[in-house]
Amino acid sequence: MGDAEIIPIGTRGRPGRGTGKQPSSAARNLAGGKGPAARPATRRTPDTDEAQPTDVAVDRAEDTAVDRAETSGVQDAPAASSGAPTAGDTSAQQPDPARPAARTRERHARGGIPAADLMAAFQVAAREVFGEEWEVQLARFLAFLRRRVTGDYSVDEYGFDQEISQRFFMAALRPIADKWFRIEVRGVENIPSEGGALVVSNHSGTVPVDGLMTMVSIHDHAGRFLRPLGADLVFKMPIVSTMARKGGATLACNEDAERMLRGGELVGVWPEGFKGIGKPYSERYKLQRFGRGGFVSAAIRTGVPIVPLSVVGAEEIYPLVGNIPSLARLLGVPYIPITPTFPLLGPLGLVPLPSKWLLEFGEPIRTDEYDEGAADDPMHVFNVTDQVRETIQQTLYTLLMERESVFR
């Protein structure tokens, strides 16, 4: 073995590839450049005395060096690899003379790919995403982005941002309405195409998803924006309050309701409020008390029609089976829901069950025929409130009869 010619493989235990301190011997041999060649020459002089031992010693040194490098890390390697340069040189002295020395070239991040190819790839990708008219589409999108960034859009006095609700909120809610809940809308013709009107709906579902779904359904089917009236709590909560204002909601108070109705908006109210959405699953589709009838007096004062809306399907999205009243009181919210999935499955429990929804808009109840003082006559207001409530309740029963099952 002593006379065997040693053809070294690898870096022979010395720090080779990857330490970055100096190029490996293999790299040095390949490059054959001037710069690195100078250094081994100076380094070799002290090394030669120690490198005198026979090849056996070199071989042993190699073995131990590999072992040590594996066990104790790289630190020991320089000391152990003292004999290496000789071996490296022997191999370097017998290269294939026909083979020219390989040279490396400086490379950039984009090196090798011409700009034209990149451009072509980008164009193909843009055509894939935006279709044939991709330049126009992209320019349009960019214009939209610029409008948002420079603040060059308009909001109305309630903070309603039409552009963002149409492009963002509606676009995000539409697939949920169409694909997840498969909403079926009936009686759209009962929504006046212009002028003020008050949509009164039942409220259910633990989380007011029905309000959002009503908004997107009315937008898609009747081409109008529904302006919901929200509870105090909505405007007290951070983030939710901003989204609500941007989406067109305002506080459920008489001043705002009348102002919006006078301004010719389509206003939505859920008079059951938290009593409605927070009721247990066992009481599903039983309408709760309709507040104090404030919405009726607002409609009578402004003379706008009341459109009753019955929503079937929202009760089953989060079946409320329990409540934690003490924690709710602590957090200042009306209830902490417990559903068959909610705290149990964690965030997965927040996914609503895919029930089948039916939305039916009833015949509008006219209020412009009543005389002046009708809005201040409590008996009259209660009568109209009851009429609206009964209409919604009856429609709910009819729709429930029609529905094959909860999910179909």
């Binding site: 960034v149 603040g151 909001v155 006095e157 941002d161 901003t242 108070c253 001043e255």
Partner: protein, 369 residues
């Protein structure tokens, strides 16, 4: 014979400039400016009387000069250089009481104009979208500027009852904005990085400085009594306004914003008032129907234009994203109109607030500045 007008609070910029504008009015004979400290700028034809409205000297001034119109403008929002909260309260409330007492004695007085503020409505999550003059704040203010103003308005109403022959005009002006105005709101907007309340976006409605002078002059010149909300048209969200001013923002919880505000006030960087936090969280809008119908006044600038004008003197500290997008947009073809934006039959969201040209002009001006 023209009017003789007494203006209080001329040492501060708004009072001084208004007194000067008024002195140039041909219908006004004389303008007498009153304040504790002399005004720092040019007061033109205004004769300045150094008098503290907190003591009865003011009655002598009114009697001697035969004043027939008093414009009360010395209600201050922050103590500023005057001292602490006690000094501010004394100046505001006791000063107004003394002034009204002097007015009550005066036989020549015919008209009292009080510059009040929409801060009396407060700012909370339970506010209606737009306050009309008949509405009360949802929660009575318990401290600070808002409480002072509420008390002052109470005294003014009492004065109106006792002297029914004097026309009393109370102008509840929205926050005043202008290139030179120094107020809690403007110093907040001038911060290089603006702290905002996380998760809330306030609705802002402002009045331009020039419109303030115009409305006060209008009130002096016209015989209309009553209380009026004065503000520019349209609403801008705080985030939107800051984008238009090209200010970078940093969102933090409400209490942190309050703390930062206090720090800034102590460091005298910005004049941050505690009731401003509510305003910056929930914002406030006021209904100006009565201003148009009864007072017959039309502001020249909308809220959006006020901000555009304010931006002209402001060096933008942000707007990097916008510049990147602008560069990108140059490489793409021009788009005429946006077909995706308008929806058939959709209600048009108040076109008055949409002023792209004003914003463009503002940006240009800001670049030059």
């Amino acid at each position: 014979m023209g009017k003789v007008v007494l203006v209080t609070g001329v040492s501060r910029d708004l009072g001084r400039k208004f007194a000067r504008t008024l002195a140039a009015d041909p219908d006004v004979d004389r303008v007498i400016g009153v304040d504790v400290v002399p005004p720092r700028g040019d007061i033109g034809a205004v004769s300045f009387v150094r008098a503290d409205i907190r003591n009865p000297v003011i009655a002598k001034v009114i009697a001697k000069e035969d004043v027939d119109t008093v414009v009360h403008m010395s209600v201050i929002a922050t103590p500023g250089t005057a001292g602490g909260r006690n000094t501010m309260k004394e100046l505001n409330v006791i000063g107004t009481m003394q002034l009204l007492a002097a007015c009550q004695r005066s036989a020549s007085l015919q008209h009292l104009v009080v510059k009040s503020t929409t801060t009396v409505y407060g700012a909370s999550s339970r506010d209606p979208a737009m306050f009309t003059e008949d509405m009360q704040p949802r929660r009575a203010p318990r401290s600070g500027y808002a409480k002072d103003v509420a008390e002052i308005e109470g005294y003014v109403r009492g004065f109106a009852r006792r002297r029914p022959d004097v026309r009393v005009t109370t102008l509840r002006c929205a926050n005043v904005l202008g290139p030179d105005v120094v107020s809690p709101l403007t110093s907040y907007l001038r911060l290089p990085v603006v702290p905002t309340v996380l998760g809330y976006d306030a609705r802002l409605q402002v009045l331009h400085e020039r419109d303030l002078y115009r409305v006060l002059q209008h009130a002096v010149g016209h015989e209309v009594a009553g209380t009026f909300n004065i503000a520019g048209d349209g609403i801008l969200m705080l985030s939107q306004a800051l984008r238009r001013l090209q200010r970078p923002t940093v969102s933090m919880p409400g209490f942190a914003v309050g703390r930062v505000g206090n720090l800034l006030r102590q460091a005298r960087v910005a004049d941050f008032s505690p009731e401003q936090l509510g305003f910056l969280t929930y914002g406030r809008g006021v209904d100006t129907t009565r201003m148009r119908a009864e007072l017959g006044f039309e502001p020249t600038m909308t809220t959006a234009e006020c901000f555009a004008d304010f931006a002209t003197t402001l060096t933008p500290t942000g707007g990097r994203t916008e510049r990147v997008l602008a560069t990108l947009a140059q490489a793409l073809p021009e788009v005429e109109g946006d077909p995706a934006a308008p929806l058939s039959g959709a209600p048009d969201a108040s076109p008055a607030t949409r002023r792209p040209r004003a914003v463009a002009a503002a940006r240009e001006g800001a670049d030059h500045g």
